[in-house]
Amino acid sequence: MSVFDDVLGDSDAFSEKSFGPQEGFAGILIAASACDGHTSDEEVRGVMKILGRMNLYSRLSDQNFGSMMDRVLGVLKKGGPEKLIQKSVPSVPPELRETAFVNACDVVLADGVVEDDEKEFIDQMMRQLEIDQDRAKTIIKVMVYKNKG
């Protein structure tokens, strides 16, 4: 037993908490930006712009938004995109699953190149967010239009 285990006992006050809807949605998009092996500051800013317009985040103060992003980025740093996806998917509200998928595709396609690990990521997202395959194809087709040029 570590000192902390002795002190904290069975209390879960300092244990890792599960994600809420805000972290879940943000986590999907951060994972999308990280799935090619790196996340640039620019990509994180891009994700923050997407989130910034959403009502889901409108009640968060700048400080709360910042600490929410810290939690998400912390999971990415410690566990990688896999762990982040695993934590995020169950906490995305069902009515926002498609929205998360559309925006994840947008993030992946934004640089005009789709690498193999990005393709794999989109397939994985489609399955985990339970998006029908034909529907996913339509979404990807439109997001390819959006990100041309």
Binding site: F25, G46, K49, G52, R53, M54, N55, L56, P93, E95, L96, E98, T99, V102, N103, D106, A110, D111, G112, T138, I139, K141, V142, M143, Y145, K146, N147, K148, G149
Partner: protein
């Protein structure tokens, strides 16, 4: 200068048209960059004002494109100022007429998709915006079935 035929102004205003678009790319024609940016600027302005969320989406939509990668911040800003100037003096319709004519081919659906995205970005679609999107679809010769699919996915994108 085929775009003149599309305007409601008639040939009598040729000189004015030239002076408004003049200096952008010589000969009163818009450059491909200006034409593309102008369509999205029209989407931003078509409800009569520039909402912050919409301007944000406009800049994000343009900045990622290879089309604009050779422009520095100053040139980019000047381009947006000029397009803004045309809207202020002559209105959105006038700008769009000039832009559609000079839009690089192959970017029609891209322009339409991003215009839908911008209009939806603030979470409200006003009547002016609906009319703008309908008119843009026709001018860009996008089939209404394709346009519906695009608009529907953009609605999903901007939910929540």
């Amino acid at each position: 200068m085929k775009h003149l035929q599309l305007t409601h102004q008639g040939a009598i205003f040729t000189g004015l048209f030239d002076s408004l678009f003049g200096g952008m790319d010589g000969g009163g024609k818009l450059s491909p960059q200006e034409a593309y940016a102008g369509v999205l600027m029209g989407a931003t302005a078509c409800d009569g004002h520039f909402a912050d969320d919409e301007v944000n989406s406009l800049v994000v939509a343009l900045a990622r494109m290879k089309l604009f990668e050779r422009m520095n911040d100053k040139q980019f800003g000047q381009m947006l100022d000029k397009l803004h100037g045309v809207i202020k003096k002559k209105g959105v319709e006038f700008l769009i007429d000039g832009c559609v004519e000079q839009l690089p081919s192959g970017l029609e659906k891209t322009a339409f998709t991003n215009a839908c995205d911008i209009v939806l970005a603030d979470g409200v679609v006003e009547d002016d915006e609906k009319a703008f999107i309908d008119s843009l679809r026709k001018r860009l010769n996008i089939e209404s079935k394709t346009a519906k699919v695009i608009a529907e996915i953009m609605v999903v994108k901007n939910k929540g």
